[in-house]
């Protein structure tokens, strides 16, 4: 199949035409294509893709190919264009993809026994900042504007506390609002004193040095956010979806758990509950991202 190159880093196709041990699947005569989004080093991700796609191919009964996209948006476009069958995705990009192209949630990641996490507002312990109101006129770093735990949910805490009128009014409350490019960068900016606060995942302080972790605390926490999700393009054969989902669920079994590290390192997967993402859909509407 021809692959559209728009907005995609075609780093390489990690083809995994492994000899399949499972029953071949008549409905899928071409390879199942998985889109991955790099978190750190795309080259490392390529190695991970090769390892996991080989295993998936043997479990599902069809060849599995993986490729790296430059970001969530490119992965969604790949699903829309039919260049990808399945993608790994944050909750917010998923609900946008669902609305735009009818993407289907298959699996949710599990961390520390829950398919959800929270966003927090972190500050330095010695900052004297004890409440959200103390951040009036101060600077804050978020991860990315299209990040649920690294922007939308933490910012909503300020709306909830009636400190800002709505998502568009953040600049009026804070001194400066930065998008640092990721949790680590936002947390580092806060820990180093470049900004007064950071909005990031509840686990983002683990990205700091052990010494820095002791120097930071959090002053507000969002409601639970459904964790990242594995989604399929609309129209993907139902049996293929089932086989893929069942194979991924076998990663929870002790003998397969070592392979989770090839997939962003969650503790496991559960079947996705579409209703679990209602809160994200509401949040996206509040921010004007969904109609």
């Amino acid at each position: 199949m021809a692959i559209h190159m728009n907005r995609r880093t075609m780093l390489a196709l990690a083809a995994a035409g492994a000899v399949s041990l499972a029953t071949p699947l008549a409905a899928q005569d071409t390879a199942l294509r998985l889109a991955f989004i790099p978190q750190e080093n795309p080259e490392k991700l390529l190695g991970d893709i090769e390892a996991i796609s080989g295993w998936l191919a043997s479990e599902i009964g069809v060849p599995v190919e993986g490729f790296v996209t430059i970001d969530h948006a490119a992965a969604v476009e790949a699903l829309r264009n039919g260049d990808a069958d399945i993608s790994f995705m944050g909750a917010l990009p998923f609900v946008l993809a669902e609305a735009e192209i009818g993407a289907v949630p298959l699996l949710s990641e599990v961390y520390r026994d829950a398919p959800s996490y929270t966003g927090r507002i972190f500050v330095r312990r010695d900052s004297g900042i004890g409440a959200l109101a103390d951040l009036r006129g101060r600077d804050i770093a978020f991860a990315d504007p299209i990040s649920e735990s690294g922007y939308l949910y933490p910012l909503a805490e300020f709306v909830e506390a009636r400190l800002i009128d709505g998502p568009g009014a953040a600049e009026a409350f804070f001194g400066r609002v930065f998008f640092a490019g990721g949790y680590q960068q936002a947390m580092q900016a806060m820990a180093e004193g470049l900004v007064d606060a950071a909005g990031a995942s509840q686990y983002a302080d683990l990205l700091l040095t052990p010494q820095q972790q002791a120097q930071v605390t959090w002053i507000a926490e969002s409601p639970p956010i459904p964790s990242h999700v594995v989604i399929a393009r609309p129209g993907l054969d139902a049996e293929v979806q089932d086989r893929f989902t069942n194979a991924m669920l076998r990663l929870n079994e002790p003998e397969n758990r070592d392979k989770l590290r090839y997939l962003y390192g969650p503790d496991g997967y559960v079947r996705a509950d579409p209703a679990a993402y209602d809160g994200v859909r509401d949040m996206a509407r509040r921010y004007g991202l969904l109609e």
Partner: protein, 626 residues
Amino acid sequence: MIQKFLGAFIVALASALVLSGPVAATPAKEAPWLPEAAAYRLTLFLGNLEPLPWDDVGTAWAEPYRGSEFSVGALAWLDGNSDIGPAPLLDAITREDRQAVFAEATRLIARRIDEELDRAVMADDPARAQQAVRTARELYRSFADGIAAADPDASRRIGLAWLELNSSTGSAGVLGAGATPASRKTMEAAREVISLYLAENYLVDDFAPRRTLSALPETVVLSGRTIEVPPSLPPGFDIFDQDPLPRLVLNFEEQGIDETDLPLVAYGDMLFDSAQIFGNPAQGLGVACSTCHNRSDVNQRLFIPGASHQPGAIDVDGAFFNPIFNDRRDDPIDIPSLRGLRFTGPYGRDGRFASLRDFTRNVIVNEFGGDEPTPFMLDALLAYMLEFDFLPNSMLTPDGQLTEAAPEAARRGEAIFNTPFAALGDRSCSSCHVPDTNFLDRQAHDIGSVALAYDGARTGAMDTPTLLGTVYTAPYFHDGSLPTLAAVVDWFDESKSLGLTGAERADLTAYLETVGAADEPYEAFDAENTAFRLAFSELTTFASTLDTLLPQRDAKHILLLTDTVAADLSADASTMSNLAARPEVYALAQRLAEVGDAVRTDDWVAAETSWTAFKSEADAIEERAF
């Protein structure tokens, strides 16, 4: 982006710059380095060694650094990702011109940052711009610690510029939803802040001569100010505990005696885990006795570029840890186990120290540049280390005979082990590895395993090592040149012409593997019995010596303890599974730090009060400490 919180805390080296006060022995894992940034940092590190390992410098640029996530080295990476040619740098390396290598490498990295900044500003979509900013920033990490140490204002200004730059790249949203445009003007202004600083400090035509290679900015070097850059290890280092963690067998503990009732031993246990007893750079890096000797055994993964020739080995009298003790010989040794230490003298691979006390002082003062330890410190360290016992092995009796649990092949091997060979001067393996004295004879022998340093040298004798516990301490020989016990058997058979058949070699190997085995060689952890629980138990035990030291008003040793344990407790909290209990552990660490603060101001009442509170709070959170 939940994926980013991986099990381990992975952080940028630059972030270690905010460290202040006592340094904990809990090292932080680093974020991966870009290939050319890694090569640069390795060049700085290796360039400060005497004699300078030029081959290693060349390798640093040609090959991926140890543990790199990139499959190619810096040169290949540059070839595929940059228009900047490395020819001047390679020429300088060929000429072995240290100053020129520094200058060319520094300019190369600065140009790469500018190249990526150009790409960011020129990018036609936010994702590509952000990718270029991210790359530029990862390259800037090459210089970040030098700038932060020397020019905090510039460090802050540039830090804000990175934030500004990334924020102004805009966002593509998802299928148009949430898209925000880039602000070119802001991007260019922010990039200007970074590029101007690079031009003034890292892109200069003639760098001032460097006695020590570092990432310090040129303007600061020219000012003549003395700047201490916090010590760091280059990409590829590994000073983390081995996994699985060796089980520690302490004689008193096996007898049911509580360490808190042995304050001298407990204090020595603390010192064994304390980087404070060493000088810099070991102290600043958090290197302690236990870094190499995990739980009295070895650390098979320890590796420091330029000081290790392979994992589990280190040259402790090289240029890095204590230059005045540099013997200018590239002779790293395989880290020896300290199990059964009271039976294994003399000490040192060649048995150069008859006294464990002398050996220990040499490690502290000479090998790792620490201050002269007090008699109490040496007494405590020895009291602790003399409790190290061998791992119990149900296949062996206390006098070194095989039990019924031993396999048949080992019994056949035992006979070979005890057989005198003419080629060994009518001696047997057991002549030196005497079974009823813990498989050693406490003497040094030259078995031909050491390449002689000069004609007529008598430097090949090495102290006979015990065979107990050796299944878990591979590789073997003083330099770790033999990977397995089978390889050791082959070496003796071939070099001594013993004439063993294949079956006999297999039997002899089986015997060694039986003698060197253990019933429980490693610590067993589970959901609540975690490595942190073990650390918490140890650290609170160390602190218990305050019950002895506070009444004695022994300020020096109290402060050594509180500085070490408070910092370690706080740092170790980052490894907790029970994240909800972390704030309590931080508060507990603070309580111990308050003991130290009070002692520093001679306020003994406050010190006693904080200590009492510590004990009570430690008891209260013990169950949640996992």
